[in-house]
Symmetry: C2
Subunit: 275 residues, 2 copies
């Protein structure tokens, strides 16, 4: 016989999970249920508030499709995505830190040779990008595979233009035998995350803005090393302290130096962790 | 400047919520974020597991429509619905306890006179239901409005039959001047909650069955009293100890007495809480 009250109900759900065959699923479910119930008890959640939560999740599910992932956006603005990235990618202090992948990564970016202009017609101030890829012992990571992607002067990625026929400000490159790379692009700009859905309503209700500071995405792969997914941020960006998705790490912020001709230069060296 | 690590990120999200204008929303969001992060840290949630969670919520959103609410079902099987019901409906010990509304309540049930057969053609063993409605001081609650609904001998509610043209085993009645009621119906049977979606997969992965013990739903309204939403359960039901949605309370279980002719009789007295 069961007799539910607020003290007993959590124990009862925990008992019911006792026969979960997968030990990791069991561990996750036990922790999830306990924290979910602790939250509800702590705020003394009412039935009316509970229903608002159900309706919020329903709207979040219904706006999600192949092009838009509102649950990831929700996880992002609650700091859960970044927390998971940080925990999953703990590395020695000498290594370049990871940050969120973000929703604008695509698999089939075009290939470029070192020195090429990956902007490929995207509008913005010209920016020269260069650096090196090394291992923790200082060894060059020869022929590392590099993917880069970024926003244009309007703060938009190529995939956000419905009429764009080719990839812009996005590409794959291969470092040279000394692990060095260089390419031309444009200056990345700050941009708001999509905020015309439930997550935008949550940001508004909590008096938060939807902006991310300007950044250039890197994904770096090399045999024998852990894949690095990160951004390089731009010093003095107005949104560094309040990134809507909590992705900023101090070690990833650097000066993008303005040149006499109004173009920019970004130098950044990456350090990979051996597998 | 922000510099995210697992210790700092929660503080950072909390700071970002500091300007939430509605104090209750602020309280709820602060507690939610802290417990969500504590959960992720406690299990050291990986990016792969996080993505499985995102995909689970997405499937839950996509199967939800006007006829099916999979997020409520998820809340039910995690004990959150019942916890919220119990917290929202704390009453003096003398009062009848509340339990979950469930997904099969409808607004426009047919009206019946006392003594009528609410089964209205639904199949099952005949069952006579009778009792009284009183207040905490023992006073009769005259002309209380009663809604009842229940499953048939197959464990199905009328709304689960696609071809059913009229409501069955469901109705509205009004108690007499002494707060007494009686009506004819059928014996309620145990039934499984819908388990052909994500929530069913979760139950299967955690080695849980989807069954609810047999019960008759009551919703009782009367001026000057709190609305009571509850069930009456049947003693010796095989699922009393393992209700899939954790809705059983000992005070709501009673004998449904089998009569010499094979029919049943259920007697239950309700005590309402004054507003």
């Amino acid at each position: 016989m069961e007799n539910m009250n607020t003290n007993h109900i959590t124990e009862s759900v925990i008992e019911r999970l006792a026969n979960t065959p997968d030990p990791r699923l069991k561990e996750i479910m036990l922790s999830l249920v306990q924290h979910l119930h602790q939250f509800a008890r702590e705020v003394k959640l009412t039935e009316v508030e509970w229903l608002k939560g159900i309706e919020f999740l329903t709207r979040t599910g219904h706006i999600t499709n192949a092009q838009r992932q509102e649950f990831i956006l929700l996880s992002d603005v609650l700091g859960l995505s970044m927390l998971t990235v940080v925990m999953t990618n703990e590395k020695p202090a000498a290594c370049t830190q990871a940050t969120v992948l973000g929703p604008f990564h695509v698999d089939n970016a075009p290939h470029y040779a070192l020195g090429d202009d990956v902007a490929n017609g995207a509008q913005g101030q010209p920016c020269q990008v260069q650096g090196s890829i090394k291992g923790v012992q200082g060894e060059a990571v020869a022929h590392a595979r590099i993917k880069v992607w970024q926003s244009d002067e309007k703060g938009l990625y190529d995939v956000q233009y419905a009429d764009r026929k080719q990839h812009q400000a996005r590409g794959k490159l291969t470092a040279d035998a000394q692990g060095r790379f260089h390419f031309k692009s444009i200056l990345a700009m700050p941009y708001p995350i999509p905020h015309d859905g439930p997550v935008g309503q949550l940001l508004e209700a909590t008096a938060r803005h939807p902006w991310r500071p300007a950044h250039l995405h890197f994904k770096i792969d090399a045999p024998g090393y852990e894949t690095l997914i990160t951004h390089v941020f731009r010093k003095n960006d107005p949104y560094l302290a309040t990134d809507a998705v909590f992705g900023v790490r101090e070690s990833l912020v650097t000066d993008w130096l303005e040149q006499a001709d109004g173009s920019y230069q970004l130098d950044f060296d990456f350090v990979l962790n051996p597998v």
